[in-house]
């Protein structure tokens, strides 16, 4: 029998159906792997009891002929999703000990389809970060190694860094992520996995700890595009409890994976190819992939998204503004941390000052400032206007192309102690390719497309589609996956 933690979801579903192994065995194999790889710090909470109980029930359901779309599949749950009876903190000290009395829609849907939660994965505090360095529970280590410097502690990308590392290292078959400005796609690129941020409104935000409500979107992190299709179908769908959830039927995404890109028009945005700031290996993989797609019958179209350079500042106005308000509820009254004070305001201030990390506080301060009279017009409203322009440019582009192909991150995974990690402005630049589609609410999938010749680290590319065109981006991503022939597996830190 092959190593169970090496299987894809599709393979595992097959094996489970053929009774080659049980869900309990599959779960146990992953729990064991999690134990071995604790130094990755991918999980902030392991829930073996919950997992084994659910696995047992899964086996019973399968035996009764009631298997769901993810029946028996062990998954990691980003600590952003409220899980009933299981501590949820968004990796913030301020949510210390918070045990939600409810289950988020996304995690509920995954459970309803038979998946087995192994634990809560590490993340940047309140999903604010691109390197998973802001977690209250410490940094996550990327399971890949830089071949020029194998001992270097590489970051997995953020904010869904724990999920990405866990999926890459075989500590779960798939994990949930969330993407506000690139939080799924950046770590997917750094950890050599497939990360999909569907269209805004595609997955419910109910029960997901909010960062920036107009941008937050739940998504999938898996090892293959087929697995993404399976998982996305299980967790997507209309939710009457979320006023921004779209009442659009969920198609069978797996069916879209024909591998055929003939006749598809693939846009290459000029503005995503700056002279500076794009790693040569990333550029090379991007160009090569475009060539291969062309060879497979796709039409490569040069397009322009002229306002691209303004996406990042726009994002860094809108997201903190919304966050400053969304995070006001953490006040030491209803749940989480309280630091006593001699008055109500004193208690609020002490609790929040101690409870939030530096980056979160910084963003709250910025967001608060931007919404002040005197700044609101020139900063916040201005950003919302530019956001519309960005959307309009995408809409124009999709008149000419079916999908857009772009890098997901400007370079490969970097070291925890690299210079850039200390400078918030520099760190923000890692979002440069992911933020525009976030602002436009478009679906985008990051798929491994090659490796760096310099350090051997994975490089992901993004396929960005028009609203609710998940099928098209998955089809293209599937083709890229096949073409890249990437079979590399991470050199696990603690394991093989």
């Amino acid at each position: 029998m092959t190593d169970l933690v090496e299987l894809t979801i599709a393979e595992a579903l097959d094996g489970l159906a053929k009774k080659e192994f049980s869900a309990v065995e599959l779960t146990q194999a992953h729990l064991k792997e999690m134990e071995k790889a604790r130094e990755l710090n991918a999980y902030v909470l392991e829930t073996p009891e919950v997992a084994l109980e659910r696995a047992k029930k899964s086996d019973e359901r399968r035996a009764a002929g009631k298997a769901g779309k993810m029946e028996g599949i062990p998954v990691g749950m980003k600590d952003l999703y409220c899980t009933k009876g299981v501590r949820t903190t968004a990796c913030s000290h301020i949510l210390d000990g918070f045990v939600p009395p409810y289950e988020s829609t996304v995690s509920q849907k995954l459970e309803d389809e038979g998946s087995v939660m192994l634990g809560k994965t590490n993340m940047d505090e309140f999903a604010m970060g691109t390197a998973n360095l802001t977690s209250y529970y410490g940094a996550v280590r990327n399971p890949y190694k830089d071949k020029t410097n194998p001992d270097k502690f590489l970051i997995p990308g953020g904010s869904s860094g724990g999920s990405a590392a866990a999926v890459a290292a075989g500590l779960c078959m798939a994990a949930t992520g969330s993407d506000t400005g690139g939080s799924i796609r950046t770590p997917a690129s750094f950890c050599g996995i497939v990360g999909c941020k569907p269209t805004y409104g595609r997955c419910s935000r109910w029960g997901m700890v909010a960062f920036a409500s107009s941008l937050d979107q739940a998504g999938t992190m898996t090892r293959t595009v087929r697995d993404t299709a399976i998982m996305l179908e299980a967790m997507a769908g209309f939710d009457p409890k979320d006023s921004t959830s779209a009442n659009v039927p969920v198609p069978n995404y797996e069916k879209a994976l024909t591998g055929d890109v003939k006749g598809l028009r693939i846009g290459i945005p000029r503005e995503y190819n700056p002279d500076k700031g794009l790693n040569a290996d990333v550029r090379h993989v991007w160009e090569q992939t475009a060539e291969k797609l062309k060879a497979a019958g796709a039409e490569i179209v040069d397009i322009s998204l002229p306002s691209t350079q303004y996406a990042l500042p726009t994002y860094y106005l809108i997201a903190p503004a919304e966050a400053s308000s969304n995070l006001a509820r953490y006040d030491g009254v209803k749940y989480g941390l309280r630091v006593d004070g001699n008055s109500l305001d004193d208690m609020y201030t002490k609790t929040r000052t101690e409870g939030f990390g530096k980056e979160v506080k910084r963003r709250i301060m910025i967001g608060t400032c931007i919404l002040l009279e005197g700044y609101y017009e020139t900063c916040y409203l201005k950003a919302q206007k530019v956001r519309r322009l960005l959307c309009q440019e995408f809409a124009e582009a999709y008149k000419k192309v079916d999908v857009i192909l772009a890098p997901a991150a400007p370079e490969t995974a970097f070291g925890k102690d690299d210079d850039s990690t200390g400078d918030p402005l520099k760190m923000q630049l890692y979002d440069v390719f992911t933020v525009p589609s976030s602002l436009a609410g478009l679906p985008a999938v990051c798929v491994p497309a090659g490796t760096s010749e310099v350090n051997g680290l994975p490089i992901g590319l993004q396929v960005i589609g028009n609203s609710f065109q998940e099928e098209t981006i998955l089809r293209v991503a599937g083709a890229i996956e096949t073409m890249s022939g990437m079979t590399i597996r991470p050199l696990r830190v603690g394991g093989k």
């Binding site: 409220c82 919304e322 308000s325 995070l327």
Partner: protein, 484 residues
């Protein structure tokens, strides 16, 4: 006639705008499925949405939207097809999210007015700037514990309509009339129960003073006044305070003040947070509320007759004086009672009985008109009995009292108690004869010029008839016999 404060340095006019918070009548809250009923145990009508739990999202209650639109019609206002919810950000223990979902620059209702009747018979039109929907806050209890405040979130998230008037009010009386009229309108519509003492209608008053014809002065906002009388007192006090302040060389500062109903004074609520800025921005958890024409039309058609229209109709159809009509339409239940009682009867007389005897009884018994011991059809019937001569208006007093006590129909009472008016001339004549015969000395006195005794004879005879004799006939016969 305008309300003028005679200051030491001249005349001052007061300028008032009122912000009224009306709790919307709905079963569930504005953005959650938790109940709104009064009197529940603490925190038992709270959902995770109301308590601001992580990841919770608002979904708007359709009924609250309809109530706002109905009220908008009642305020003769523009129903905005598109409105937007915004967050008002501030920290307080009764606000679990750290923001209140409200509406800022795109309210659901704008630009309306209501006409208010003043005691001198004048009518004043008060402009309504806007009505918007927003969430109520929770309740704090400060007296349960020496060092703690208790927080109950049952009211948190209940829908409020904030109705903002234009600064068109020029006297405490107008403010009172405006509030009464507003309360009457929302009660007619059924969008708010209007009970200020229970807090389902609350009022903030913006008060400033100016020289007549000059630009507006700096205003002070008096927060949360909980009765119409107190609002009037607070305005009167505050305006006077401002005049005295200015005349003694001071300056009015824009601030929030509190009304102390015991001392009858307003006091500054020195806000610690001097830097307050609510940082309104559109709530990204919600999208614009767009009303469809069919719904607006349906609600327009379903609108009940409102006080102004009813008053007009009462004057035209029932021939009531304007003042009476105004009294009767102030409360829908009274108006309904009146119509039920007046239908097919002498409406003017019915109105008089309602505003006189019936109100007196209700007042004494502490009852509302819907609990009236006298059924409207019985009152109408009683008036018929008076008009057709079956009972005298004097006897009607007794019949009315019996109706209050026993709840029977006037016919039953007249029959049982034998209260029918005696109009038989010979029967009355006999009674007069008996009285005259029994009092020869008094007859002599009368004839001797003491004509005042006429009333005494009338009284005696009436008593002999047990009050049932037709008074006009009795009067005439007594006089005739004495003068014979």
């Amino acid at each position: 006639m305008s309300y003028i404060i005679k200051g030491e340095t001249g005349d001052w006019e007061i300028v008032v705008g009122l912000e009224v918070h009306c709790e919307v009548i709905s079963k569930a809250k504005l953005f959650s499925g938790a109940a709104t009923a009064f009197g529940a145990e603490a925190n038992t009508q709270v959902s995770f949405v109301d308590a601001g739990f992580p990841g919770m999202l608002p979904v708007i209650n359709h009924e609250c939207v309809e109530q706002a639109v109905r009220t908008g019609f009642g305020l003769n206002a523009t129903i905005n097809k598109k409105s937007i919810f915004a967050r008002k950000n501030y920290y307080y223990a009764d606000l679990p999210n750290g923001y209140q979902i409200s509406q800022s620059d795109h309210p659901i209702i704008s630009d309306g007015y209501i006409d208010v009747d003043l005691e001198n018979g004048e009518t004043r039109r008060i402009g309504i700037e806007r009505l918007h929907l927003e969430q109520d806050a929770g309740k704090l209890m400060h007296d349960q514990h020496p060092s703690k405040t208790f927080v109950d979130l049952n009211r948190a998230g209940v829908a409020l309509m904030e109705i903002v008037s234009r600064p068109d009010i020029r006297s405490p009386e107008e403010a009172g009339a405006y509030l009464r009229k507003l309360r009457s309108i929302v009660r007619y519509i059924g969008s708010c129960d209007g009970n200020m003492d229970e807090g389902s209608m609350r009022c903030d008053a913006n008060v400033s003073v100016r020289r007549p014809g000059e630009p507006f002065g700096t205003r002070a906002e008096i927060k949360n006044v909980n009765s119409i009388r107190f609002v009037m007192q607070a305005i009167e006090y505050e305006a006077m305070r401002q005049v005295e302040l200015i005349e003694s060389g001071g300056k009015v500062v824009q601030e929030t003040r509190k009304f102390d109903s015991v001392k009858g004074e307003t006091k500054s609520m020195r806000s610690k947070e001097t830097a307050i800025d609510y940082r309104y921005f559109y709530d990204p958890d919600l999208i614009p509320l767009v009303l469809d024409d069919a719904m607006i039309e349906r609600l327009r058609k379903e609108m009940p007759e409102l006080p102004d229209a009813k008053k007009k109709r009462f004057i035209e159809d029932y021939g009531l004086p304007a003042y009476d009509a105004g009294q009767l339409v102030a409360e829908k239940e009274i108006a309904n009672y009146f119509e039920a009682a007046a239908k097919g009867h002498d409406a003017k007389k019915v109105a008089n009985y309602i505003m006189g005897d019936l109100f007196a009884v209700l007042n004494k018994q502490g009852k509302s008109i819907s609990e009236s011991p006298v059924k409207p059809e019985n009152l109408g019937r009683m008036v018929d009995l008076i008009n057709d001569g079956t009972i005298s208006s004097r006897i009607a007093k007794d019949v009315f009292a019996f109706m209050v006590e026993e709840g029977k129909t006037p016919d039953e009472i007249v029959e049982e108690k034998g209260l029918k008016q005696v109009t038989d001339t010979s029967a009355i004549e006999k009674m007069v004869d008996d009285v005259l015969a029994a009092n020869p000395d008094k007859v002599a006195e009368y004839k001797g010029g003491k004509e005042k005794l006429l009333g005494w004879f009338v009284g005696q005879t009436m008593r002999a008839s047990q009050g049932k004799a037709n008074p006009a006939m009795l009067n005439e016969l007594v006089k005739k016999k004495l003068d014979a």
